[in-house]
Symmetry: C2
Subunit: 241 residues, 2 copies
């Protein structure tokens, strides 16, 4: 059985302008690997309604899940919720349960501002994602999970979303270090990759002072097959001495 | 006159699996901003020939430049050059000038291996990009600039490529710190964004201990307009006291 697939859509001018270093993709990739959902694409797009809608339509049609990050705050550049509503061709308005979350957060005695209410606008048919950090919720609609860009909130929202998703076979990974350059082991590695096509075999060169080396990563869902590949890699390493 | 646009294509299973934190997009975004080329999209795809070819075709048709990162080493998982050749429907073979670079790097007396020669395979019609770090060249073909994923080499190759590209108006950026949450300033910010549609006005919440604050970033190519926006922002800040 194949693992479910996923794409990530990062929304934000601040990433594309070089102001901000993107911080959520690495976390998402690791967490999805643990539950056996294969992350197949990451896309970063600007705060541009038409571009976000197009990307959502393409990605949700080609993957089992889409995780978005960014653009759900109270300001004029927070346009993700409207784009998601358009991508699903549904309406969007302030929802009572979301409004209550925000009211509880600021205290019963105070009046919600237009900006608070902007964060309670939820596309029709969506399910709220809990935000234990700052109350303003994310939401899931269809196969799209809409989460905040602030890393602490993204992490918390992902924790709330993942347990409900159908898991696949967790991706396992082992690594072997070679203190030779990639070129010296490329030929036997290629043989190994051909012999074990069910595994992903990656080759990552590094330099540590005067040492040129290569880390070989073996990935797959079957621990025995990975062990077998590691044995063959150790054989390759011995033959270099 | 509009600035040239660009997309980045990051190629590598190691990013999508969560093994490696992507490290080149932030650098590229900053460098492109300095020379006035607008980065409009970043896409991360796996080591999958058909997926890379499709992404290259889409991105090169919709942007003035495409910068790729990753997959040009000597091992079986380095498939970028072949995918680029396919995306341009041109042949690919070992090229004499690339072979000479590698021969010089290992020394005249030694014999190039198949793995060395793999790094000298260049699509027809491409121009080599110098690699002062480890000799194996990148290349430019049409509007696609193919560079290494190893950060030190990516940086060096970008330094070699950028001076030759037509520059736009450098993107200027100034920032003002508000020690209030986004909600308190969302309304006047929206007014400012409407009044000065030539500028990008971004709102980025932060938390430092007990302080909830918001950094407002104003971006544009006209320094006077940015100064004017900053003045208005200072006015908004004063009115909060």
């Amino acid at each position: 059985m194949k693992n479910p697939t996923a794409a990530m859509l990062v929304i934000g001018d601040e990433i594309l302008s070089g102001r901000t270093r993107e911080a959520n993709a690495y976390h998402l990739a690791g967490e999805l690997g643990k539950v056996g959902i294969d992350l197949r694409e990451i896309r970063v797009v600007p705060d541009d309604h038409a571009v976000i809608v197009d990307a959502l339509r393409v990605l949700r049609a080609s993957h089992d899940h889409v995780f978005t990050s960014g653009g759900i705050g109270p300001t004029h550049d927070d346009i993700t919720a409207d784009a998601v509503a358009d991508a699903f061709s549904v309406g969007i308005e302030v929802r009572d349960d979301a409004r209550t979350l925000l009211q509880d957060a600021i205290g019963r005695g105070r009046t919600l501002t237009d900006e608070h209410l902007r964060m309670a606008r939820i596309p029709h048919g969506a399910v709220l994602i809990d935000n234990p950090v700052s109350a303003a919720p994310g939401f899931t609609i269809g196969n799209v999970h809409v989460m905040a860009g602030v890393p602490a909130i993204f992490v918390a929202m992902l924790d709330a979303v993942l347990p409900a998703l159908e898991a696949g076979s967790p991706m396992l990974s082992r690594e072997l270090r070679f203190e030779v350059g990639e070129g010296r082991i490329a030929a036997p590695l290629r043989e190994l990759a051909v012999a074990m096509p069910d595994l992903g075999i990656g080759s990552y060169p590094f330099q540590e002072g005067p040492v040129y080396g290569t880390n070989i990563v073996v990935r797959g869902t079957d621990a025995d097959r990975i062990d077998h590949a590691l044995e063959r890699l150790r054989g390759i390493r011995s033959s270099l001495d």
